[in-house]
C-alpha cells in the first residue's frame, strides 16, 4: 500500500527537540538529542516528499541515507559533503564493541555516540553542533525548494 499521508505529527515532535539550543545553553546532552531528532525529522520530511517509504515503481527505499535523499532533491553538493563530513567525524561504538565512526548512510548509529565525557579524545559537543549547523542550512534550502519539514 502506498503511503500518502505525511508524518506531520512525528516531524513536529522531533522538530521541537531539534530546535533546541546550539550555543552551550541547556543540558550537556542537548546537542546530541537535537542532532538526532533533526536527522529523524529530515528523513521523514524527505521520504514524505518523495513518497519513498515502501519504494516507488519497484525501487528500493533509501533507508536512513539522508545524504542520498538530499542528492535526490538536488540540495547543494557542498552542503551534502559538509553534512557527510560532520557525521563521519563523530565517533561511535561499533557492533563488535570497538570504536568506529557514524555511517552517514545510517545516521541512527548516532545513538551509539562515543562522547568525550565517557571516552576521552572522542566526540565533543562542538562536533555535534558543527553537524547541526550544517543541517540548519540544509533545512533552509529545503524550505526554499518548498519541501516542508
Amino acid at each position: 500500500m502506498l503511503l500518502t499521508m505525511p508524518h506531520a505529527f512525528n516531524r513536529r515532535a522531533f522538530g521541537s527537540v531539534a530546535r533546541g539550543p546550539l550555543d552551550g545553553e541547556g543540558e550537556d546532552s542537548a546537542p546530541l538529542l537535537a542532532l538526532y531528532c533533526a536527522l529523524v525529522r529530515l528523513e521523514l520530511a524527505l521520504k514524505d516528499h518523495k513518497h519513498s517509504f515502501y519504494g516507488l515503481g519497484g525501487k528500493k527505499g533509501k533507508g536512513h541515507d539522508v545524504c542520498g535523499m538530499l542528492r535526490d532533491v538536488e540540495v547543494t553538493d557542498a552542503l551534502i559533503v559538509q553534512l557527510d563530513n560532520r557525521l563521519v567525524s563523530l565517533c561511535c561504538t561499533m557492533r563488535d564493541g570497538t570504536s568506529g565512526t557514524v555511517d552517514p548512510k545510517n545516521y541512527p548509529h548516532l545513538r551509539y555516540l562515543r562522547h568525550e565525557t565517557d571516552f576521552p579524545g572522542t566526540s565533543t559537543n562542538e562536533d555535534l553542533r558543527g553537524a547541526l549547523d550544517v543541517l540548519r542550512d540544509i533545512e533552509r534550502e529545503l524550505e526554499h525548494k518548498r519541501i516542508s519539514l
Binding site: D77, N85, R140
Partner: protein, 864 residues
Amino acid sequence: MKTGSIFLDDLKENGLSFRYLFRYPYVYVAVTDPAFGEYDDREDREAYLTERIGWNAAELRRTMHQANFQLQMLTAEELEQEYGHDRHRGHSWLRSILAQAHPPAPQPVETQESPIRVVHFHGYKGGQARSSCLAFLGRVLADSGWNVLVVDADIEAPSLDILFNTKPLHRDSTLLGVSQGAEPAPERVYTSPLTQGNVDLLAYRPASEEYDIEAVALAMRAAMDPLIIEQNAGRIADFARNAEYHLILIDHRAGLSPYNLPWLHRLPGPVVIFARLDEQWSAAKSYLPVLLHAYPSMPGLFVSFKTDSERIEQYLARNQAQIEQLLQLLVDAKLDMQPATEEEEEEEGIDLTPMDLRDHFLVWPYDAAFRSVRVPDPERTSGDLRAVISELRRLLGLEQSQRRPDAPRHLHPSGAQDEGAFIQTSALRQIQSTSSSIRYIFGRKGTGKTRLLREMAARGLGEPLLVDPNDTGETGLRSRSTAMEKATETFRENPQGLWWLLFGCALEQRDTATTTLEKSLERALEAPPSISQLVDQVRTRAQQQPRRRIFLLDGLELAFNARQIFPFMEGLFHVLLTIQTDPRLSERMDFRLFLRADLAEIGIQNIEQQIHGQVIYLRWDIQTIFNFVLSRIQSRDWYRTHFHATVEKIDQREHEILNGLLDIPACEELLLEIFPPRIPRHNLQTTTFLRTYFTDSASTSGPPGSDDTDGERATFYPRVYDRFVEVIARPNEGSPSKHYSEEQRKGDRINPSLLVFAHEAAAQDYLGQVRQELYYLIQLDQEFDQNRRRIDRLLDAFAGESSPFKPDRLASNLAGKSGLGEPDVRAAMNKMKAIGMFEDRPKHAEDWRVGRLFKSSLRMKYAR
C-alpha cells in the same frame, strides 16, 4: 547587468537594512523590513522588495544565484529567530571580498591567534619562484639554527617534495595523512651541519600511485568543505608547537583557490606575495588586499622574480608604476590596522606613501646556482640573492639566529663517544631523510659508522636499538652487555629469535632508553616465546605504533664470538628481509644497519638481492678527509693558540668545511700553514704523506675513496687522522708507545719529526682498536682469554716480516714464530685480509701486500 555588489548598494540606497552571513558556500543575505510581516508568501515578499529597489523578479533571482546569495526577506523578529544564533561558517574569497566591499560585516571577521609563527607564500599566477624562494628561505633559516616546518598546501599542484629531492613514502608525513587522522610525522629534508637547525617537510601526499584517488578526493572534498583545511591547519599548528618548531612556512595554491584563506585565517601570519611585473597581477587587485589584511600587525611584502640579466635598478625604474600600485595596497592594509591603544587612536595618522614602503618590494634575481640544484647551498649563490634573502628575513622579523650556544665538544677517537663536528659526507646526505631507501651502511672500522649512527639519532632520523659497547649514551642496548649475552645464549639454537625479541621489546616501549630496553629484554627472557609468537608480537606491536619508527643497529662486530657470528648474522639478515618486505611491518617500522663490510660477505644467502639499491659503503675521499682534518684542527685549543691566524681562516670557512665542500687545493693551502712542506726523513712532500700514509691500501694508482661500485676500495680513516691531529697537539699524553722529546714546532710550522711520531702513534692506536675486533673475528681457541692471547702472539709475530709477501710462506713463518698451527694462521690471515689489513698485489696474483697504515703498526718492512 546586475551584480551582487549592485544589489547590496541598491538596498542601502533605498533605505533597506540587511545583514549578511557567510555560511559556506552561500552568503545568506537577510533583508529586514517591517512590511515583510504583511506577506506570508515568499513571492509576495519578493514582489515588495523588487518594487522598492526597482528590479524585476527574474533579474533578482538570477543575480542571487550567480552571486551565491541566499536571499531572506524577514522582519526584525523573524531575523532574530531565524539567524539569531548563527555565525559565519568557513573562510573563502567570497566572504572576504564581501567584507571588504561592504564593511562593517555583521560580525567581526574572526581570526584565531596562531600558536606558532607562520609565514605564507602566495602568488596570483604560478611559475613565479614562490616555492623555490620558500624552500631556499627554509634552508637559510636552518643554517641559522631555526627548526622550520614547511607545509605544501598547494593541494592541486604540490611540488615541495620535488624541490627537496625526496619521495614521501608514508602518509603520516603528508597533509593527506593528517586529514585521515594520522599523527603528523614530517620528513626531515635538511639539517644544517653548522647549527643543527632543520627543515622538515609535510608534503601534500605520498608519492605512491596508490594514493591518487584519495589525493584528488581530498582536493574535491576540501573545496566543498573548507573546515577540513582549518582542522588540518589546527592539528599541524598544535603539532608544530609541541615539537618546538620555530616557524611554519606554508606554500599556497596560486590564484583564488578555495584552500588559501582557511589556512590564512586559522594560522594568521604575513604573506609573501609573488607578483611578476607584467601586468598579469592586476586582475588580482581586488583580491590581494584580502591577503594583506589577514595579519594586520605585519601584512607582508611583495617579491618579483626577474628572469633575465637586466640590472635590478633598471628593472625597478622601468616598472615603477606597477610597484607603486602594489605598494599602495600594502599602505592601505597598514593604515587600516586597528589602533592598539587610545593614545594611538588620538595620534594623528602617519602619512604613509608607497615609496615609504619601497623596501617591501623585493626583486628575486635569476641565479645560476638553481640550475643544477633545486635548493642550493647559499654560499654558492650570488651576493645579490643573498642580499634579497637577508632583506626578506628582516622584513618578516626572522633575522635573528636561533643557533644554540656552542657547548664544549668532547673529542674522542671512538665514534661512540666523539662529539666533534660532523662532516656532511655524501653518505649522510643519502640517509638524512627518514624516507631514504638506504638501510644498510657498510664500512671498514674507523670510517665513521658509529659516529654516523649517533648523528642520525641526534637529528631524529632513527632510534638507537643496538649500540657499540663503548657508547655512553642513554639509548640502545650495548652489544656487549649482560642482557645481550643472555639473549645470545637463549637463542643459540634459533638465532632469529634474538632479533625478533629485540625488535619486539623496542616496539613495546615508547622509546629505546637503555634501562627500559634491558628490563624489557630480561623480562622476556624469563619465559622466551617461540619464534612464531615473537613474530606475531612484533607484527601486532608494529600496527599499534602511532608513528613510523626507524631503529638503528650497530656494534655487531663485538656482539658475538667467531663461532656465533655467522648464525646470528644470518638470522639478523633474515629478520631484516622480513621487515623490508612485509607491509604489516614496513608500514610502521624500519631499520638502518651499520656493519663492518666483511661481515656482510660471510656467505649469507641472497644478500646481494636483499641489499641491492639499499646499501652505501662509507668511504672518505681526499676532499672530505681533509675537510675533516681541518675541522679537528679548529676544535683543538693548541692549534688555535699556536696557529691563530690559520684557525681564524678555518673559522671563516667553517660552513664549507662542515659540508665537506672546501676543495682540495684550498684545504692543502690551509694545512701547509700548519704542517711543514716536506718530511725530510722520508724525503716526502707532506701533502703526499697525508694522502698516502693514512690508508689501508698500498696502491699508488688511484686515490682512495674514488667512485666505484663494490665498496671495497681503500678509504681514509677519520679515526686515524683525528688521533694524528691530537698527538701533534699533545704528543706525550694518552699513553703513546714512545716518548717525544723534541720541540713541537720548528720555525713557524710543526716539526716534521712530530708528524712521523704522530702518524706512528695513530697507526698503533688504530691497530689496537682493530685488534679488539679481531678477538671476535678470529677463532684460535674456544676460550675467549686464551683466544685473545693467541691473537696477540700472532700480531706480534708480524714484526720484521716483509711486504709484499706470499701468504703461505708468511703463514709458515708466523706459525713458527708464534707457536700456532699453520692452518689456523692461514685462516686468520684470510680474515685479516677481509677487513682490509692486506690486499692482493696487482699483477702478482699469488702475492699479497700490507697497507701503509698497518705496515707501520704491524712493524713490517717493505721488500724492494
